[in-house]
């Protein structure tokens, strides 16, 4: 008789745990959908232009958006000069298939702007997948009525191999 009741008791305990687990301790906030600032709108467009130029192997288009002394810094590596970076992204063995820009914020300093964002990408380098998410900090410099990319700091976010193809922008989480 007791043996017959054990499954019922276990079921009851599990059900109680499940119900208790569903009770929110703190009200859950659904992701927020933001109204981007003017600068976020502007620099999202400019960052997309650069990535689209990489996709099209548009050397002239890229050069027009970079300062002459543009360079990229990464963790545990020497800084890469602009020309070397151009050579690497324009090389035939690198293909940027898709990208997603998210979590952007911009600090407007007048003639300069510090732009922080996360970039997910699906790419191929020397025949191997080069997917992942990257944390990027760009320094943009005003140039007349436009902006040029002066400096970039980029680091791969560990443990994130794939990007979501249709990521819903949440702005901040």
């Amino acid at each position: 008789m007791l043996a017959r009741c054990i499954p019922c008791l276990l079921g009851g305990v599990i059900l109680t745990w499940t119900v208790a687990a569903q009770e929110p301790v703190v009200p859950t906030l659904t992701p927020t959908i933001i109204t981007a600032t003017k600068q976020v709108t502007l620099f999202t467009g400019l960052e997309k232009q650069i990535l689209q130029a990489v996709q099209k192997k548009d050397k002239a288009g890229l050069e027009a958006m970079l300062t002459e002394d543009f360079e990229i810094a990464m963790p545990h590596a020497d800084a890469v000069a602009g020309e070397d970076w151009l050579d690497s992204v324009l090389a035939k063995d690198f293909t940027l298939r898709t990208f997603v820009i998210s979590q952007m914020s911009v600090v407007d300093l007048g003639d300069y702007a510090v732009v922080k964002y996360e970039r997910g990408q699906q790419a191929t380098l020397k025949g191997k997948a080069y997917d992942g998410e990257f944390f990027v900090v760009d320094l943009w410099k005003k140039s007349g009525d436009s902006w040029k990319l002066a400096n970039r700091y980029v680091a791969k976010i560990p443990g994130v191999a794939n990007i979501k193809a249709k990521a819903r922008p949440t702005g901040k989480e």
Binding site: I33, I34, M104, D108, P169
Partner: protein
């Protein structure tokens, strides 16, 4: 084995009954299938008729550059807008009673305008957005959560409003409007406002945050002097109205964040963010303030006795696009 045979026999009988029923139904209806908006009514002699189905769910219009993702819209006629004036709105610049009065007048004037009717192009399977809004109530909170806010503190401000005069309304939209001395994580560097939903007081509450753009004019203000500026260089009220407009459009057409957005996740107003379309210039003969007229401020809407500068909204009709009015 005996039990197995009984089960097999029972299953066979069930199959035969279902199959014959389906065949009968098919033969009765074989002259024409019921279309959307029709239903089948038996005539009592084995035949059926097709009659209009008054209970039929309306079709959701798609194919205009924005997708319907299955969630509800707010169909209130009107949808109540609740304002929580947070911080010090009795100070200087645009943090004044004049701004409070202007924004409340704006919300009360917005309902059923051709501009707000753009939102009526959005619906769910039970009906469309009305395009009507009204000021449901407004209260002041002079700083219950301090001047450095985050999402949890904003939630607390909304919750507190329920015991300070605002109803707990699942069909309205609550706005926390902060004075320019109040910070919110991400405000000005990433966003000018946001909307979300949250279960508060056991109710699905739609709420939004909009900060006074005078905290970051270059990021969130449209122009330094707007059509309703009380003085030159005080454009916060017009900027705030623009962001509030953006958020209420989205909170009504995508209240639970599962109704209307495009392939890249952009909601209707996102697709026209800071896109104003054709504008006019304030002068002494229109509804702008003297400061607005003097500065030649731009505006693109006129209603409620004022001129306004508010972004366009994406219409879910005519192929889609950023427009200033519907139809």
């Amino acid at each position: 084995m005996c039990t197995f045979r009984k089960v097999s026999l029972a299953l066979t009988m069930v199959f035969v009954i279902v199959a014959s029923s389906a065949l009968m139904a098919q033969s009765i209806l074989n002259h024409r299938e019921a279309q959307r908006g029709e239903k089948v009514v038996p005539n009592g002699d084995g035949s059926v008729s097709l009659v209009p189905d008054n209970d039929a769910k309306p079709a959701v219009v798609t194919g205009n550059g924005i997708n319907y993702n299955g969630g509800p819209v707010l169909q209130g006629n009107p949808v109540p807008i609740y304002l929580i004036w947070y911080g010090n709105w009795n100070a200087s610049g645009s943090n004044t009673a004049a701004t409070v009065s202007l924004v409340e007048h704006y919300v009360n004037s917005l309902g059923n305008t051709p501009y707000e009717k753009i939102n009526s192009t959005y619906g769910d399977t039970t009906g469309n957005v009305s395009g009507n809004v009204t000021l449901g109530g407004a209260i002041f909170d002079t700083g219950s959560q301090g001047t450095r806010l985050n999402n949890n503190r904003l939630s607390a401000i909304v919750t507190r409003s329920f015991s300070n005069g605002l109803p707990t309304d699942p069909n309205g939209v609550y706005f926390v409007l902060t004075s320019s001395n109040v910070s919110e994580r991400g405000f000005c560097s990433s966003f000018c406002g946001f909307h979300t939903r949250q279960t508060l007081n056991g109710t699905d509450i739609k709420w939004a945050f909009v900060g006074n753009p005078d905290r970051c004019p270059s990021g969130c203000e449209i122009q330094t002097t707007g059509p309703n500026s009380p003085a030159t260089g005080v454009g916060g009220a017009d900027g705030l109205i623009n962001v509030l407009t953006h958020e209420q459009e989205e909170a009504i057409s995508d209240p639970d964040l599962n109704a209307w957005f495009d392939n890249s996740g952009q909601e209707n107003a996102d697709k026209c963010n800071f896109n104003f379309g054709t504008t006019s210039t304030c002068n002494g003969s229109n509804g702008c303030t003297p400061a607005g007229a003097s500065a030649g401020a731009k505006f693109n809407q006129t209603f409620g006795g004022n001129d306004w500068m508010i972004q366009q909204n994406w219409e879910n009709a005519n192929g889609g696009g950023c427009v200033q009015h519907f139809p």
